[in-house]
């Protein structure tokens, strides 16, 4: 466990040195503030459009941070050849991978806290209530969803040749799942075999990332989720991320490093 924590702390330090997070945070703040300054029929209490846009920017930023950070971890170590002295130490490849995962996940979590704090401030400035329970649920679900994304990106970094191709494929797949993932079965029902069967199998195999997207509920002030579905979604995220991490570890342990 100490090995994993040591690797993860290096990953976190690296992320704070890079400018990606700061640039995305500043962009999110600027765009939201500019949109918030628009005069809409002399009514300063209109807030939901701002919440929706701010949440969208947070989601895009978090995906950019999580995917790009995790996709470059192992290729960068290989390219700079620091992977060899690292593996020469008493640390297994699986521990390196888990350390990278934990570092990326924790760093994404810290970034998320900053983003959601800004979101909370914007909401509080315009709305009378501050639904802390809903916000905590949203940030937790979002963070656990990123665990799946990071695990997928780490697996991709071991399968695909270059970080750029891995980034692109991860973005396309994850955006696709988020946009149409939960509708695949509905689409499949209206199709003929074998497309119907293939799409249905795909629907059940793909990670259900849509479960972690509670933006609509937050934007429109719906009450917090019940504890049951909330906890079950978190467990699902951990299990799914573990599956991808296991696959990544299997590939990494069999990979010849040059």
């Amino acid at each position: 466990m100490n090995n994993i924590l040591a690797v993860s702390s290096v990953v976190m330090r690296e992320m704070y040195r890079r400018k990606d997070f700061y640039v995305l945070l500043i962009l999110t703040v600027l765009i939201t503030l500019i949109l918030g300054s628009v005069n809409l029929f002399n009514d300063s209490n209109i807030v939901r459009y701002l919440k929706e846009i701010c949440l969208l920017l947070i989601w895009v930023s978090s995906l950019v941070i999580a995917i790009t950070t995790s996709a470059r971890q192992i290729p960068a170590e290989r390219e700079s050849r620091t992977i060899f002295p690292l593996l020469a130490k008493p640390i297994s490849r699986t521990e390196v991978l888990l350390g990278k995962f934990l570092g990326c996940w924790l760093a994404s979590g810290v970034a998320l806290v900053c983003f959601y704090l800004f979101f909370g401030l914007i909401s509080a400035a315009r709305e009378s209530g501050w639904p802390l329970g809903s916000y905590l649920q949203a940030v937790t679900l979002h963070w656990f969803m990123l665990a799946i994304v990071i695990a997928i990106a780490l697996l991709g970094s071991l399968v695909f040749a270059a970080p750029s191709s891995n980034n692109t494929i991860c973005f396309v797949v994850i955006a696709g799942i988020l946009l149409i993932g939960r509708h695949l079965h509905k689409v499949a029902v209206g199709m003929e075999q074998p497309s119907r069967g293939i799409l249905t199998v795909l629907y059940f195999l793909l990670p259900q990332l849509g479960w972690f997207d509670v933006r609509e509920r937050i934007t429109h002030n719906w009450p917090p989720l019940d504890a049951g579905p909330f906890l079950l979604a978190l467990v699902y995220a951990l299990v799914t991320a573990s599956v991808f991490l296991f696959a990544a570890s299997w590939v990494f342990n069999r990979k010849r490093l040059q």
């Binding site: 629907y203 849509g210 479960w211 429109h220």
Partner: protein
């Protein structure tokens, strides 16, 4: 490899040629009415595709009206063909079919059932309180959930304050109007909610006048403007002029269309008839109600009203 100077000169030559060609085409192109319109950045950037975006944002406003409970392109949209915020405002005729509460249908599988916890899956309308109202009623004995729709007791939350949540649809309507100024429903729907729930008749009038500048003498905008003068400003004379201008404009433009907007004519005439009735111009009111009867989807209503009005008139003349 050619020297840098040659490349720069070649690039300069190409830019000059492109600019000259653009100028020549601009002169050669036939001039239309749009040439007199002020420069519009959206028009320049998006061209006619801005209409598609305008439709998208209009639908987005309707999704906000339902606090996010809205069918996607993968769901059954029969009950959402006409935007509820527009039909509830009375600016368009409702053509929806099916049950608006259950467009999601039965869950197809366990994932589908579970996923419904994570997005809004209860039908509410923003003017009735939206998600806030639905939530606050959930813990009270006075409200109940009927067929997926919250039915409140309607007296304990200050109706006026509750209805103000509808302000949240306005940003999307404003964007929709700026993207497609010829989309009249956007102006009339926005104006209705501004004046009826937010008591912003000045802003509503300003927005309608902007719409009227873009769509001169449009009967639907004239109708909504007349309602402001009649219902908010209590200025019967100006309201009458605007209703009459609306009817005249309708008669000029609509009959030639394949599907004339008879619903709008009915609205214009019935409101004018009611105005005349309120002003005790009974003979003119009877004349107008007769016309309303001809265009009403169900003539029984105006017919009954006419009988009452004639009885009232007979009583008046009997007393004299």
């Amino acid at each position: 490899m050619p020297p840098v100077r040659t490349n720069v000169l070649a690039l300069g030559g190409l830019v000059t040629a492109a600019f000259s060609l653009a100028c020549a085409l601009q002169v050669a192109m036939p001039r239309d009415e749009r040439d007199n319109e002020p420069f519009d950045l959206m028009q320049t950037l998006l061209g006619d595709s801005r209409r598609m975006f305008a439709d998208h944002f209009f639908v987005k406003a309707d999704a906000y009206f339902h606090s996010g409970f809205y069918p996607t392109i993968f769901d059954n949209r029969e009950s959402f063909e006409t935007a509820h915020m527009a039909s509830d405002a009375g600016v368009v005729e409702e053509k929806n079919k099916g049950d608006e509460h259950s467009f999601l249908g039965q869950p197809l599988d366990v994932f589908d059932k579970f996923s419904r916890n994570f997005f809004p899956s209860v039908h509410t309308h923003m003017d009735e309180g939206g998600a806030d109202e639905g939530h606050s009623h959930a813990g009270h004995d006075s409200g109940e959930l009927k067929e997926g729709h919250f039915v409140g007791d309607g007296h304990d939350h200050g109706h006026e304050e509750v209805g103000k949540g509808v302000r949240e649809i306005l940003p999307w309507l404003k964007i929709s109007a700026s993207l497609d100024p010829s989309r009249v429903d956007t102006y009339t729907t926005t104006a209705y909610w501004l004046r009826s729930r937010l008591s912003k008749s000045d802003e509503a009038e300003q927005f309608l006048r902007e719409g009227l500048r873009r769509n001169p003498r449009n009967p639907a905008i004239l109708f909504e403007l007349a309602r402001i003068y009649r219902e908010d400003r209590k200025d019967a004379a100006r309201a009458r002029n605007l209703f009459e201008a609306g009817i005249a404009s309708w008669q000029k433009t609509e009959p030639a269309k394949k599907e004339p907007n008879v619903f709008l004519l009915h609205q214009l005439m019935s409101h004018l008839a009611q105005l005349e009735e309120d002003a005790n111009n009974d003979l003119r009111a009877i004349e107008l109600w007769e016309k309303v009867k001809q265009v009403a989807p169900d003539p029984a209503g105006p017919d009954l009203h006419l009988r009452d009005l004639r009885d009232k008139l007979a009583q008046k003349s009997g007393q004299q």
